[in-house]
């Protein structure tokens, strides 16, 4: 026999409230009442204030059932990974007994609840509200997904102040780049650019071709003196380019 207890009406974070909703707990109808889908917990209670509440981490799944062959009314189905016993306390078996595997408990300690609203059109809102609230309670035991990325929302402005644009390669205009340099940096930039401009002017070519300027620094003795080229040296080459 299921005993209900007095459930306080949730005061805040109620995403959805659905009146005229019958609760059926493990096949036993509890009569009409109101379902509150709140961010902290899911609760239902009847006109006299007696009912029950569920913690989202204990909810395995929830669904909209329109299959009348499975159950004669369209309803919101909720599977709870816990047994709601006579005192309506949830004993989440997984955490209690370390010897039992969680698979065993899943068979033993589950509760099926059906919330049957008189207004069937409300089912989608009820379902969506539960999805949203469920997402607010990710599994604390799951290390993989949280890992290093837990905690505060990433503050973009704060990060930009810290890292500038160095983390991810992105293109910026010349002005943007230069404005990011301090005086030292700008001086270095000018020197490098000067060197670049100089080396472009000092075009030096392979042996046999005129050079505009001979720069002693690059003279390795391989360059041919332009003047010593013999006219007609390559006239016997019969390939037409």
């Amino acid at each position: 026999m299921v005993l209900l207890r007095s459930v306080p009406r949730p005061s805040e974070g109620v995403r959805h409230e659905q009146g005229e909703t019958t609760a059926v707990l493990d096949g036993k109808g509890l009569g009409a009442g109101t379902l509150y889908v709140a961010e902290t917990r899911l609760s239902w209670f009847d006109g006299s204030g007696m009912g029950f509440s569920l913690e989202y981490p204990t909810i395995s799944l929830h669904a909209i059932s329109r299959d009348l062959s499975a159950y004669p009314q369209e309803h919101l189905y909720v599977m709870v990974n816990a047994k709601l016993n006579d005192e309506m306390q949830e004993n989440a078996h997984d955490e209690e007994d370390e010897d039992k595997s969680s698979e065993e408990d899943a068979c033993e300690g589950i509760t099926e609840i059906r919330f049957v609203p008189s207004d069937k059109a409300a089912l989608e809102s009820m379902f969506s509200a539960m999805c949203e609230c469920q997402a607010l309670h990710p599994d604390p035991d799951d290390e993989d997904s949280n890992g290093d990325f837990d905690g505060d929302e990433y503050d973009v402005e704060e990060a930009e102040a810290e890292h500038g644009q160095g983390d991810i390669p992105s293109f910026c205009t010349y002005e943007e780049g230069v404005s990011g340099l301090r005086a030292e940096g700008q001086a270095t930039l000018q020197r490098l650019e000067g060197m670049l401009a100089q080396s472009v002017a000092n075009t030096f070519h392979m042996a046999g071709v005129r050079t505009d300027e001979t720069n002693g620094e690059f003279d390795d003795g391989m360059e041919v003196d332009a003047g010593s080229t013999v006219a007609g040296q390559f006239e016997d080459a019969d390939v037409d380019h």
Partner: protein
């Protein structure tokens, strides 16, 4: 196919294989649950925490009884396997999802909008 509006969820997705499951949006697939029931339906959404939402579901409970569910939300903890359909190219799906996330990140171009960077807690 939507990318999550939450920076945290995008960051988590970008760094875990849940991004593959997110790429299955719109596909019909089977999810094996921890209690050995199965649910076959179209993937509506998989969030960064691996909660799975399916629609038009054929649900077989652990005793083998079949029923249809219009909409089903499976808490991540209760997901054992998600079957990847044979026709899905896994690498391509992951790449596409990554591109989508980065497009959201750079949506306004170089100067405007926000740039997100990977920031790890120390």
């Amino acid at each position: 196919m939507e990318v999550s509006h939450s920076i945290r969820e995008r960051t988590i997705a970008e760094n875990s294989l849940v991004i593959l499951l997110q790429g299955l949006q719109g596909e019909v697939t089977t999810v094996d649950l921890r209690d050995e029931s199965t649910a076959r339906g179209r993937v509506v959404n998989v969030d960064a925490f691996m909660n799975v939402r399916l629609e038009e579901v054929l649900y077989r409970d652990r005793r083998g009884r079949l029923s249809q569910l219009a909409d089903l939300f499976i808490t991540a903890r209760n997901v054992r396997y998600v079957h990847i359909p044979d026709h899905v190219d896994i690498m391509e799906t992951i790449q596409t999802q990554l591109t989508r996330i980065r497009r959201v990140r750079n949506f306004a171009g170089e100067k405007r909008g926000r740039k997100e960077y990977l920031k790890k807690k120390n």
